[in-house]
Symmetry: C2
Subunit: 440 residues, 2 copies
């Protein structure tokens, strides 16, 4: 056990939000309160971008109930960003950004830094960790995993994934009842597009809606498996002949045999000369309707699937909070440059714990569905996948309701007094013409 490192804590969120990334922040804040060496607990607004702008908020000013309420509140309560510090493409900007970050860290005595996010965010955390060592600024940096895409390596799965799958699978189940009820001898097809640009974890997860072999989804199209249009049409014909209807889940990043995204039709331009992004499901619907003369409808859940806290997985929310807590404990115990990971310790019943993995192992690696977790014809995940995914959607988060709708938490966000001169968007001068607003 090293000498306790005394100082302030900064936590921020990055990348696309999820239904449970706020639970990780709650975990960080609540665990931090148990360690005397941690003095102030700050949040960075809009990830690294807000920190660059010295837009910190005092999480110590939030009510205890608000922090607890984060565990059922979707999206990123601190705000998030997709800002990257890129030493390869923009070395000068990256250098300026790092200087600025460490000015902010020093000005606010930040000794604990936690960054919740996906691949890019873990890469940022890794760079900050290395930079702290280089600069001799004693600060413990721990990444907290988050992504509905479930594509981070080394962790069994990612917080956010279970809730997205739970919501999507329930939606597929409900839509299947609807389409099945409407289907007559003419047949009916419904394509449900879900997120997942390169890895098909989210699409695959909807297989959990299948309680019997005949249940929907009948086909799941994964970005990992190049589309064979003829095989797909034959399969849809076979399924509608048997059941009168067919429900197909489409991963948005579905590619054709040449590796081009189905949904990005560059041959069509809109009124402004931009390529028409029809979306994978809509593009497929045109083909199915055209070639099979089958009534085909599409659903594009889009953002809805990553923030559906009204139907979040209690397992997922508990794991997300535990990752935040584990990050703080690790840092207090002297760790830095690590990401918290989820480790599966038992299958039946499902058991899990947290572990640590070097951030260097996480950045720039993507985790795909193993080919042997997918059926030979590529149209459905198999029992191996189901065994993996099933426990992740267990349990329901109880959301307080008000007037028939969820009561989500909005933080007070007391700003931490700024100590530095202002920074422009590019960090080039110290004064700005148009002040950057502090989010209310």
């Amino acid at each position: 056990m090293p000498e306790p490192l005394v100082g302030n804590l900064l936590v921020a969120q990055s990348g696309g939000p999820t239904a449970v990334i706020n639970a990780s922040v709650a975990g960080v804040v609540q665990e931090a309160g148990r360690h005397g060496c941690i003095e102030e607990i700050y949040g960075g607004t809009n990830g690294i971008l807000g920190i660059l702008n010295e837009e910190l908020i005092d999480l110590g000013d939030e009510k205890r109930a608000a922090i607890e309420g984060l565990k059922h509140t979707p999206a990123a309560a601190l705000g998030t960003c997709r800002y990257k510090i890129n030493f390869v493409k923009k070395p000068e900007q990256a250098k300026r950004d790092m200087d600025r970050l460490f000015e902010v860290f020093a000005a606010h005595q930040i000794r604990y830094f936690f960054y919740a996010g996906g691949n890019d965010s873990q890469d940022t955390a890794h760079k900050i960790h290395l930079e702290a060592q280089t600069r001799g600024w004693e600060m413990r940096v721990i990444g907290v995993p988050k992504t509905i895409d479930n594509d981070l390596p080394h962790t069994d799965h990612c917080p956010g994934y279970g809730s997205a799958v739970k919501y999507n699978a329930a939606t597929v189940m409900e839509i299947a009842l609807d389409v099945g009820a409407m289907a007559t001898d003419d047949g009916a097809c419904c394509l449900i597009e879900v997120m997942g640009r390169s890895a098909g974890w989210i699409a695959a997860g909807t297989v959990l809606a299948k309680r019997h072999a005949d249940d929907a989804p009948h086909i799941i199209l994964l970005p990992e498996i190049p589309l064979d249009e003829e095989k797909l049409l034959a399969k849809i014909r076979e399924i509608t002949a048997a059941h009168k209807y067919c429900v197909v889940v489409v991963g948005e990043g579905l590619k054709d045999q040449a590796g081009h995204e189905i949904g990005a039709d560059k041959t069509r331009l809109d009124a402004f000369g931009h390529p028409v992004l029809s979306g994978a499901a809509d593009a497929l619907a045109e083909i199915i309707h055209g070639k099979l003369n089958l009534k085909t409808r599409t659903v594009k859940l889009g953002y809805a699937q990553r923030c559906a806290a009204h139907f979040a997985s209690a397992t997922d929310a508990a794991e997300a909070a535990a990752c935040g807590e584990a990050a703080v404990r690790a840092a207090v115990h002297g760790e830095s440059g690590m990401m918290v990971k989820l480790v599966r310790t038992g299958t039946s019943p499902y058991r899990w714990t947290t572990g640590l993995q070097s951030l260097g192992d996480i950045a720039n690696a993507e985790h795909f569905i193993p080919r042997d977790w997918i059926s030979a014809d590529g149209f459905l995940p198999n029992e191996k996948f189901i065994e993996y995914a099933r426990p992740l959607i267990e349990g329901e988060v109880q959301v307080p309701m008000e007037g028939g709708l969820p009561r989500y938490i909005v933080l007070v966000k007391s700003p931490v007094e700024k100590k530095l001169a202002r920074r422009t968007k590019t960090g080039e001068t110290e004064h700005v013409a148009r002040p950057v607003a502090v989010p209310a």
Copy 2:
């Protein structure tokens, strides 16, 4: 009180399913069990279509718990259809259909007929009622209202509407948190397309997500208000300047000043020569992205919004069941040719009861949002609408869960023995080459 009419009961569902139309069937079945004059309780599969095919199921064979479970099961458990009996366009077919229906009614001693559905279905019920009188077949016909579109006249609102609005409003609330968390100075816009081809009730209902003036949805585009593109772009610019993000709900039937649907772009043909139906939200997204250079994403909830029983309104489900019960009571008391309607008897607290309205008043009339329930600029429903809609989403239906997903009821569907010769699809001959399968 007339002499009790002794005989069998037939209930069927028609049109697009909802989250609570099965609750109406449960209401019919449970209430029927309380009246000795009702002998057998049958269900028609796929609405009028299944009845024409003499595909009846014996609801008396279903377990009590299954009937009760219908109250939390979405879609149409009996199956549904969009089949119309059209004496104007297809008089011969309509005549044959009516003959066949009354053969089925007579063969199975149907004295009570209940049809749950929207406008077209009430019209069908009305025709059957009149035909029964003409033919001297003593049968009581009562329509049970159902439609998420909420466009039936004379009823305060329609079962199915409250649940669709509850789910959509929660979804808008969650997406708003997501988009708001991601928004930086560059701004962000999200368009959420919801159902409603001619009336904007569903789109308007999402205003309930607004707890504060600044909350999403910031703009609701109703099919009733022709789109003024310049005004819309100016409004989006104003909102993103103030809040950095803008959430727009788009009724799918949104029309331009010339009355053409925004989502039906007939100038673009797909590979098969069909017009590309881009959808209203996608069409608008191209305009917004093109003209404002604003990051714009779309969500198309499609079928998901009419079957989201995992987040159904308890008020809606209770009203749907009560409509089924009231239909049976009315019929037993001698009424026929009526539709059950919902009557609001109190505002604060909300109170309601059921009433009856002649089916002749319902058919071929559509109910739109009064213009004075919409703001002057046409971009948001006002307090009058909110007062109307607010109570309809109150309370949550408790759905039993299994493995993290809803446990919905599937009926056993014991077929009632057929007594008539088979009917072809067109009803022209008595024998068919390809037998029409009885749904399992």
